[in-house]
């Protein structure tokens, strides 16, 4: 329950981080909030040879709403998102309450969660739902990767070992969006998480998008177009059944595959209803 030895390095800006990562080699890892990484190190599931602590980099903790959408600095704490009032992105503040517990949210960072790439993580699911772009900086410069391509498998992302996430960009507001999930205890990892985004008139769906967490190795986009359908409970329930039929979730100690499918149906319907409300 004590971490293996590593060397500790502190970075004061992004370029400094990139330079240190290059020097320390592939076994070095970035330390942000550490709410997943340090727990894994205590279990010795992770044994990085070196940590580059980026928590003292100034100016990477921001929520900037502009004409296009929202830019979230990598070091923005979950708690900052939870307590912010962001026009058109209320879904982020509401969803933040599902992340761990209050002290975890005070310490954990937005970029850190995206980098960790847990398929049940609220920010990973919402990044895919809202078609966010992940901004990475490395020795070859800056690049942007769509969230839909960023999460590549079980805790696998498109970020290279010498790159750092600096920002997450949400391209357009999502006034009708919601995330909901189920876990056995409050604050636990979701067994299944469901998120939905809608554009609608008073009684009809114009566009829809549904993304799930906990049913695959990365967030899963459901193939269901609700355009033209009435915006009512029946539509949401039917969409839940469609989503459940599309997934082949894993079985583990938290629930069987069949149980996860039933959760998927219920949670998708709930997320759509919340999004439409």
């Amino acid at each position: 329950m004590k971490p293996a030895a590593f060397t500790y390095h502190r970075a004061y800006d992004v370029n400094d981080t990139i330079a240190q990562l290059a020097e320390l080699g592939q076994d070095a890892k970035i330390l942000a909030g550490g709410q997943s990484l340090v727990a894994m190190m205590n279990f010795r599931l992770a044994r990085p040879s070196a940590l580059v602590d980026i928590t003292r980099i100034a100016g990477l903790d921001y929520l900037e709403r502009d004409a296009q959408g929202l830019r979230v600095g990598a070091l923005t704490r979950h708690r900052t998102v939870e307590t912010a009032k962001i026009d058109g992105f209320g879904v982020l503040s509401k969803a933040a309450r599902w992340i761990g517990h209050y002290p975890i949210r005070c310490r954990g960072t937005f970029g850190g969660s995206i980098a960790h790439g847990d398929s049940t993580a609220e920010w990973c699911v919402l990044a895919v739902l809202l078609e966010a772009r992940i901004v990475l900086q490395g020795p070859r410069g800056r690049r942007e990767v769509p969230a839909t391509e960023f999460f590549q498998g079980f805790f696998m992302t498109a970020a290279q070992p010498d790159e750092m996430i600096v920002e997450v960009r949400f391209p357009k507001p999502a006034p009708h969006a919601a995330l909901t999930e189920y876990s056995q205890r409050q604050g636990d990892f979701a067994i299944v998480a469901a998120s939905a985004r809608l554009d609608l008139t008073e009684d009809e769906v114009l566009t829809s998008r549904v993304v799930l967490g906990g049913v695959g190795q990365q967030p899963v986009v459901v193939d269901a177009d609700l355009a033209g359908q009435p915006a009512n409970e029946e539509t949401w329930r039917a969409a839940g059944e469609v989503a459940a039929a599309q997934v082949d979730p894993p079985s583990d100690g938290h629930g069987s595959s069949a149980y996860r499918k039933k959760l998927t149906a219920a949670l998708v319907a709930r997320a759509l209803a919340e999004a439409a409300a």
Partner: protein, 159 residues
């Protein structure tokens, strides 16, 4: 060779300069290097909350932060709550409401509640208090006494 660092931190207003190995958690630095054994260590992976302290005013799991990261920071532990022999309002409320039995989890709960209460303007409703206090584990009390204590202090502080 050990990776060691000279750090300076303030704990409950007292300044300390110590040499720590990078892999030493803040919980172990507080307990073993500085003697603040009021901070308890339960699970060591961020689940139980027994090691909760305030780092620059924010509640954190001291097992999920390395001591070296607290360099230049202010830490508040359970030893910082009472004024000499005079318990704080929160400590008194825990006692009055039977918010503790064996006491192992109590320092973590007190620091969690202290952080939460310091953010409040008014009196939070019971469901919110329950949600916040769910961050930590207690195996004796059933939580009701803890929730009552936190709500009483919120009411007292709101006047």
């Amino acid at each position: 060779m050990k990776d060691i660092h000279l750090i300076a931190l303030t704990v409950n207003g007292t300044e300390h300069e110590i040499v720590v190995e990078s892999r030493r958690t803040l919980a172990d630095v507080l307990r073993h290097d500085l003697g603040y054994t009021g901070t308890h260590v339960g699970c060591e992976h961020g689940i139980c909350g027994a090691c909760t302290v305030l780092l620059d005013g924010q509640p954190v799991r001291a097992c999920l932060i390395f001591g070296v990261q607290a360099d230049g920071c202010e830490v508040r532990t359970v030893e910082g709550l009472a004024d000499g022999d005079e318990l704080s309002d929160l400590q008194k409320a825990f006692s009055r409401c039977h918010g503790l039995q064996c006491g192992f989890c109590t320092p973590g709960f007190l620091m969690l509640a202290e952080a939460y209460l310091s953010e409040q303007d008014g009196v939070p409703d019971e469901s919110e208090v329950r949600e916040v206090m769910a961050a930590n584990l207690c195996r004796c009390t059933g939580y009701q006494g803890i929730v009552d204590a936190v709500r009483q202090v919120a009411e007292e502080r709101a006047g």
